[in-house]
């Protein structure tokens, strides 16, 4: 039966070529489309996580809901000890965030000032790589400020900046700092609002020794992040809680789900049309062969045998097309993952949406490619059901008389 199916495929060239081509195009297009969609999402998330957020953060339970200095982590060292015992963590550090008004000689702006350990941040985030001018690892009264904020305050390296805010005991803080370095991460809001300073000096001003707003950590492998979060949760004091990046970046994750949803809605249209065309060609082919089926039935072939014949035909055509589309699509996806397409100026235009790079990479994910291919495969198999049903509706005599 398999050989007969193969002969039929070679004989009915029109149907075979159309089915083969449409299957090839739909599988190839699907693999590449999904890879670009997933790739741009991963890239946005990865950039956001690498730049500053990290893969997980630990908070005092009430901090994210209520906020303020009343809900700081007060025993950094204890948490550090827990983190140091867990495998798979690349780096961790504590941060203490405070807000206030920063002023240069002429201008003022709101600023988020964060006390950090610069050496740990260098392993944990992109802050060091984002250095634009001056010093990164500064000490004393030095500030490491977002380039947009420095621009707004019209500051250059070495200029003085005053800051008015409050210490963690809610006492008033007014301090004079010096701009020692600027950074540009590409995350517009972040660059427009943030400044960092070394933790020892920060602690003396804000009275925040051994406290933090949160402790941030980065997993070596993102795939291990959930299990690391689980291990940390198990060992943490009950008043602390771990948030994974999915929770921290909830809005971005949701937006990506929506984007994927629309992507799949769009591609389902192509599948619908292609499914129908393959079915129509299959049906036309079958309807022109009714006499042939009549003869096959009359010499003893059952309906099931005819079904098998038709199944083999579509199976061979689909498998052939997929065997060509899958490596080609995979190669293209792999290539663009290593050498992403660059759209100059994209990050500038979409800066408010968290786009920090002009690169549009793909994501080479064998499992995703497999399910993409399987969808096309099953749709093609589905397209032969109606023609099978149609052939079954004829008795051998009716079929042989069919014009």
């Amino acid at each position: 039966m398999f050989k007969l199916a193969l002969k039929n495929i070679l004989y009915y060239k029109g149907r075979s070529v159309t089915t083969f081509l449409l299957t090839f195009i739909s599988a190839f297009f699907f693999i590449v489309y999904v890879a670009f969609m997933d790739g741009s999402h991963s890239s946005m998330l990865k950039n956001a996580l690498d730049v500053y957020t990290g893969s997980l953060q630990i908070y005092q339970k009430e901090y994210r809901d209520k906020g303020g200095y009343d809900y700081l982590i007060e025993e950094n060292q204890k948490v550090f000890e827990i983190l140091s015992d867990i495998e798979g963590i690349k780096a961790y550090s504590s941060r203490l965030e405070t807000f206030g008004i920063a002023s240069s000689k002429k201008h003022s702006a709101a600023m988020m000032l964060t006390g950090v350990d610069f050496s740990k941040e260098a392993k944990l985030s992109q802050l060091q790589k984002a250095l634009q001018e001056g010093l990164y690892d500064s000490t004393g009264t030095c500030l490491y400020m977002g380039s947009e904020l420095a621009k707004k305050l019209q500051l250059t390296i070495g200029d003085e900046v005053s800051f008015v805010g409050s210490a963690i005991d809610y006492s008033f803080v007014a301090e004079l700092f010096k701009l020692c370095g600027t950074f540009k991460t590409g995350m517009y809001d972040f660059d427009r609002q943030s400044a960092f300073m070394n933790r020892p000096y920060f602690d003396t001003i804000f009275l925040s020794q051994n406290s933090s707003s949160y402790i941030v950590s980065m997993a070596e492998q993102m795939s291990d992040n959930d299990s690391i979060a689980h291990q940390i949760s198990r060992d943490l004091p009950t008043d602390l809680r771990v948030y994974t990046w999915e929770e921290l970046m909830k809005s971005m994750v949701e937006l990506m789900k929506i984007d994927s949803l629309f992507g799949y809605i769009s591609i389902s249209l192509f599948f619908l049309v292609i499914f129908f065309v393959i079915m129509i060609y299959g049906f036309i082919n079958v309807s022109t062969r009714i006499k042939e089926f009549g003869i096959l039935k009359s010499i003893g072939l059952s309906d099931r045998d005819i079904d098998r014949l038709l199944f083999y035909e579509i199976f061979i055509l689909t498998t052939g097309a997929l065997m060509l589309a899958t490596p080609l699509g995979s190669w293209l996806v792999y290539y663009f993952e290593i050498y992403p397409i660059v759209i100059p100026g994209m990050s500038e235009i979409y800066k408010e949406y968290g786009v920090v790079s002009d690169e549009v990479p793909t994501r080479f994910e064998p499992l995703t490619i497999i399910w993409n291919v399987l969808v096309v495969f099953f749709l093609n198999l589905l397209s032969i059901l109606y023609p099978m049903f149609y052939v079954r509706s004829f008795t051998p005599v009716e079929a042989m008389r069919h014009v």
Partner: protein
């Protein structure tokens, strides 16, 4: 004669019912889904653009020179009230208003966030952009020392209606000043700039806080008749050389580009779908003609003109294509009507959508162009699909055909 051709074409078109039905279903369903997707995407981007224009820029905005670069109150528009009155008299301008804006820090007892204070006139905003439609919670009534707050900022600061917020900023005299505000309403305009950062107060109060004249502004926004927008920009720039005049596309290039990308995407989708539809019709017509090749041979041998056969086949293809089109029209209108009035409810992802300036319920738009362009494309696809089969008939030798088929 034509009537006979039409009757024959009609009977032949639907002679093979299953085949015809499959083709009609293919055209109808793909067209229905395609126009629905087109309408949904158009609706989404148009909605974002519309709400951004209504909440901020209008079609054209005027700023003091340098304000857009430095964003400081020093660069403000004086006598904005007189300018607005004058602008309202210009042909093509339908609405005009002015606003006063300053960057600063919003604080509650526990939380602080960089934000902006926006001085507005509520009545002007209602006329300009139906501001009342942006109300998410509370009431649109500025009491004493009260403010409205963007939904995203309210969430970040964890404030509710009645909460107190302190806003601190630098005034026009370079003094750091604070103002205590009681939240009266939460606003969701789907404009990220404002939803995530804005506190709204009466314009007069903002002027007092910033120590500027009551008729000072940082922005004058205009609603214009779209056809006049390009010429208006040039006219206004010439009339107000000390101000910078920007169109919506210059102020929000990302939204304009999004709209362009949607158009490109819709066009590509349309072309791909129509090519595949063409392949489908071609297959059916080709086989249908091959099935009847003997019939055509007989017709030609008894003196039936080739052109009549051509008309008949073209009409057959058109009848099938148009039947599919009308099914698609029905399916498309049905889905689009639902999506236009009920919308696609994505409140499950509300947080993500609102954080990026989208409404959580997406409404589609219905444009006659969706159906007109599809009609032409289906007519063209139907007619093109018979070119190849017709060439085959034209090359026929009637005697040979009758012999070989017999």
């Amino acid at each position: 004669m034509f009537k006979t051709i039409l009757q024959v074409a009609y009977r032949n078109a639907y002679l093979r019912k299953s085949r015809a039905l499959l083709l009609i279903l293919m055209i109808g369903l793909s067209m229905g889904v395609m126009v629905s997707i087109e309408g949904l995407y158009d609706g989404m981007s148009m909605n974002m653009i519309d709400r951004t224009k209504r909440s901020d820029s209008g079609e054209i905005s005027l700023y003091a020179n340098k304000y857009r670069l430095e964003h400081v109150i020093k660069y403000r528009i004086s006598d904005a009230d007189k300018k607005v009155l004058a602008l309202q008299k210009i042909t093509g301008v339908t609405e005009a208003l002015y606003r006063l804006e300053v960057d600063g820090l919003a604080q509650t007892a526990r939380k602080s966030k960089p934000s902006i204070l926006l001085g507005i006139d509520l009545d002007d905003e209602k006329k300009f952009g139906k501001f009342e439609e942006f109300l998410k919670e509370g009431e649109l009534d500025f009491g004493k020392n009260s403010a409205f707050i963007g939904g995203g900022l309210a969430k970040k600061l964890k404030v509710k209606i009645g909460s107190k917020v302190i806003f601190t900023a630098q005034d026009s005299q370079n003094e750091i000043k604070s103002i205590a505000l009681r939240i009266r309403a939460i606003i969701r305009s789907s404009n990220i700039n404002f939803d995530e950062r804005a506190l709204y107060i009466p314009r007069g109060e903002a002027a007092r806080f910033l120590s500027v004249k009551q008729n000072s502004a940082t922005q004058i926004a205009l609603r214009t008749d779209e056809t006049h927008t390009p010429t208006l920009q040039t006219t206004l720039q010439a009339k107000y050389p000390k101000l910078s005049v920007y169109t919506f596309a210059q102020l929000y290039p990302q939204l304009q580009q999004m709209q362009t990308m949607m158009d490109v995407f819709n066009t590509i989708t349309f072309m791909i779908v129509m090519i595949v539809v063409f392949i489908g019709i071609l297959g059916v017509m080709y086989v249908s003609i091959l099935d009847r090749i003997r019939e055509f041979g007989i017709l030609l041998s008894i003196g039936y003109a080739y052109r009549y056969i051509r008309y008949q086949i073209m009409i057959e293809a058109l009848l099938l294509g148009l039947a599919g089109y009308f099914l698609g029209l029905f399916v498309g209108l049905l889905i689009l009507s639902y999506l236009t009035y009920q919308g696609l409810d994505l409140t499950l992802f509300a947080e993500g959508m609102e954080a990026f300036g989208m409404s959580s319920v997406i409404y589609a738009s219905i444009k006659s162009s969706y159906f007109i362009s599809t009609l032409f494309a289906i007519i063209i696809a139907s007619l093109l699909s018979v070119v190849l089969p017709l060439r085959k008939i034209k090359k026929l030798n009637p005697v040979e055909v009758i012999r070989s088929a017999g």
